[in-house]
């Protein structure tokens, strides 16, 4: 079913590319920026578990491994972004790039070069996490800080640079926390049913901790931009707090933080498998909304059928691939 959703989504978004290229490029970038959190968030959780151990990781391992194994999907998925660079980014347009103060960093050759380096490192780390024995911790310890740094710079390139004037030092940390939360939510959906009873409560606590961390970082960024009220920073929020996006902003506060937080602090809910799965599904949906809210205002685009098709296509293909790989020797060998 996931494959069907993915294939139909990709086909419809392909049609959208012909009819309305701009909508497609922004919709695809939003979907990609959400999906990339799944393999990379899963990878980071696998590496963390190698170093710390704990019941939570044992319960999640098969799903995290399946999520990590989908990383090669990035290779075809990045192509529309590369083709649409001048549509998406002011710094990729020859007429605008020379006027930008940060064009020394935001330029097409440098973007492609560092992007290729990130990709090689991520694929290497994913291969390490999938193919080596869990007792091998050294590479995990070195890999985690590298993953954090490369993810930060990659997500700055992909989404923060949509508005070249916007400059937030916590952006990478915030998006990283969001990515790990997204990956954890997707792993908790099946793990809530398969984990041992004690481990379910551990998953609830971990989910709670990440919800709080994400909300803390998000609120700190908002608070500092609000109280400083500088045009280049506040403008980023202004575009995302006017019109229909104001609802998306409020919905994130309510359903990406307040409701899951209120539910997850109740010990009875932490132990309830159905409730845990439902909260994880809610968090995954909110991550998708967050992706649209981050990317689409930069292109003055609402969420239309093309954007919806892109998100379904990307996440559907990711889920289909994860489910298929989950049954293979690749994922099963260390489970």
């Amino acid at each position: 079913m996931a494959w069907a959703l993915g294939v139909v989504g990709v086909a419809v978004s392909g049609l959208g590319a012909f009819l309305h290229a701009r909508a497609f490029y922004f919709g695809w970038l939003a979907a990609l920026s959400v999906w990339i959190g799944w393999p990379l968030g899963s990878l980071s959780l696998l590496l963390i578990h190698r170093l710390t151990g704990g019941r939570w990781g044992d319960a999640l391992r098969p799903y995290l491994r399946a999520g990590t194994a989908t990383l090669p999907l990035l290779l075809p998925a990045i192509l529309p972004v590369l083709i649409g660079l001048p549509v998406l980014y002011a710094w990729a347009r020859p007429e605008q790039a020379p006027h930008l103060a940060n064009s020394f960093y935001l330029n097409v050759p440098f973007f492609l070069g560092r992007g290729a380096a990130y990709l090689i490192l991520w694929l290497g780390l994913a291969a390490f996490a999938l193919f080596t024995s869990p007792a091998n911790t050294r590479v995990a310890a070195i890999g985690l800080p590298l993953l954090a740094l490369t993810f930060t710079f990659a997500i700055i390139d992909l989404t923060m640079s949509l508005d070249p004037a916007f400059n937030s030092s916590v952006y990478g940390m915030l998006q990283g926390a969001g990515a790990v939360l997204f990956a954890l939510s997707l792993a908790v959906v099946p793990a809530a049913w398969t984990a041992k009873r004690d481990a379910v409560a551990d998953l609830g606590k971990l989910l709670l901790a990440l919800v709080v961390l994400w909300a803390y970082l998000d609120f700190m960024q908002f608070l500092i931009v609000w109280e400083s009220n500088l045009s280049h920073d506040a403008g980023w929020y202004q575009a995302r707090m006017s019109g229909g996006w104001a609802w998306a902003f409020t919905a994130q506060a309510a359903f990406h933080f307040a409701l899951p937080f209120g539910l997850l602090i109740v010990p009875g809910i932490q132990r309830n498998r159905a409730a845990m799965a439902a909260i994880a599904v809610l968090l995954a949906f909110m991550a998708a909304l967050r992706g649209w809210w981050t990317v689409l205002p930069a292109g003055q685009r609402p969420v239309g059928w093309i954007e919806l098709a892109c998100m379904c296509g990307m996440l559907g293909c990711g889920a289909g691939l994860a489910a298929s790989l989950g049954r293979t020797q690749l994922v099963q060998r260390h489970v």
Binding site: A101, A141, S168, S169, Y171, V212
Partner: protein, 444 residues
């Protein structure tokens, strides 16, 4: 290396005997008197410097335009960070059920209390007219005086006050069963009365333990977000300003990372001599140093990440004044401050990747001392180098601390050490109740 958190098989009774004995029955060593004399001398110097400050005013310090925030804010942030690191060990690691926390949580909490006291006096002194400090608080008055609720400084006051009160309560509440044990073990009537009053009638009944455990868990759950909030608000004090180098959205978590690094370092520096002088090798093992050393590496890597983002966003961002300031920070007259920060907070702790070095106490002491000095330099870097290159070049100026700045700083170090030395002679240096539980669990 032994991975045990306790060496051998001490019985619960032996735990109580050993820990109570340190305070109740053992004579203090000469080292304690020498340390107390030295720290009291520093404290005395601090008292003199505060007296001189009150007599002459804040002009005795090196602060002037444009560097109007000097040692007072640098040392406040430095001390409160050290305190916060202690809370992380005692509260956060309690919540995540880390077994090695049991032996060192009391040392961490006592350290937090002393560091919070040293931190707390700075903002009061920095007010210029400290006798009006209560004006910070929104209270009904006839002067139409009302604090600015949009200012992080007001929230800093609130957060610090809440943190200090909650820390004292958390520390004291954790002490209750131990004070009761001390009361029961004390031989002299005076000591029995003293600990009896402090124990608030704790008798160790089933009902009392049930309530105690539930309340302690709730307090730990409150302390963990509180410590993040107090240091985040300190970060917001800076990030809310338009000053070059301060408007950075990562400041709240960045300040929390710094708190972890300096707090862990201070705990290690206190644990090493206490383990030696009180012969606590049974309860503080290599496992503790291994775990704390790893935490030093993790917090140092977090700092490195924040430093990288600091450089990156400055040059990526649109503000030319920020860039000018940062070049001055790296290559100007305060360059030694910036590079010392990098050396002590990022490079030196990387030694602790190697397990052999984590267990080598001279190396550990060197790295931890380095981290504490490095964190102090970082605050100098944030406060002084940002302010000395403001957006208006005609207003540029330097800052150098005076004798009285150093004297007050020495005084706060004296206050910290004096308080700590006295407290470890009055209250148990480890949680007897938790240690007994740990020992029992291991035997089971």
């Amino acid at each position: 290396m032994s991975d045990d958190v306790v060496l051998g098989h001490p019985t619960p009774a032996a735990v109580t005997d050993r820990i109570c004995g340190i305070v109740l029955h053992e004579r203090v060593g000469l080292w304690w008197w020498i340390a107390l004399a030295a720290s009291s001398a520093l404290l005395g110097l601090g008292v003199v410097s505060v007296g001189w400050l009150f007599w002459k005013g804040v002009g005795v310090w090196g602060i002037d335009w444009p560097v109007v925030w000097g040692f007072a804010i640098i040392n406040y942030v430095w001390w409160i960070a050290i305190a916060s690191g202690g809370t992380f060990i005692s509260a956060l690691f309690f919540l995540v059920r880390v077994d090695w926390r049991t032996s060192i949580n009391r040392i961490a909490e006592t350290m937090m209390l002393c560091a919070a006291a040293s931190a707390g006096i700075y903002p009061i002194l920095h007010l210029g007219r400290p006798w009006f400090f209560y004006w910070l608080f929104p209270y009904p008055n006839t002067m139409t005086l009302w604090p600015q609720f949009r200012s992080p400084l007001l929230w800093d006051f609130m957060a610090l006050l809440t943190y200090v009160v909650a820390s004292v309560l958390f520390w004291y509440f954790g002490l209750l069963p131990d004070l009761a044990a001390m009361r029961d073990r004390a031989r002299g009537r005076g000591a029995q009365m003293f600990y009896g009053v402090l124990a608030f009638g704790f008798r160790g009944t089933g009902g009392q333990w049930r309530h105690y455990k539930a309340a302690y868990g709730i307090m730990a759950a409150l302390m963990a977000p509180l410590v993040v909030s107090v240091h985040s608000v300190v970060g917001l004090d800076f990030a809310g300003g338009e000053t070059t180098g301060w408007h950075s959205t990562q400041f709240p978590p960045f300040f929390v990372f710094g708190a972890l690094l300096s707090g862990f370092a201070t705990v290690i520096l206190l644990v090493i001599p206490m383990r030696h002088y009180f012969s606590l090798q049974t309860y503080i093992t290599e496992r503790h140093f291994d775990a704390l050393g790893k935490l030093m590496v993790v917090s140092s890597l977090c700092m490195a990440y924040a430093y990288i983002m600091d450089v990156f966003t400055t040059f990526y961002g649109p503000d030319p004044a920020d860039k000018t300031m940062f070049v001055a920070r790296m290559f100007g007259r305060y360059a030694f401050v910036y590079w010392s920060t990098i050396l002590f907070n990022v490079l030196l702790p990387q030694l602790l990747w190697v397990r052999r070095l984590r267990l080598n106490q001279p190396v550990l002491i060197l790295v931890c001392l380095g981290a504490i000095v490095g964190m102090w330099f970082e605050r100098v870097e944030i406060v002084v180098t940002s302010l000395h290159r403001t957006t208006l070049p005609s207003a540029w100026g330097d800052y150098w601390p005076t004798f009285w700045d150093w004297a007050l700083m020495a005084g706060t170090i004296g206050l910290f050490l004096t308080m700590f030395l006295l407290l470890i002679r009055i209250v148990p240096t480890m949680s007897i109740a938790e240690m007994r539980e740990l020992v029992r669990k291991r035997e089971a």
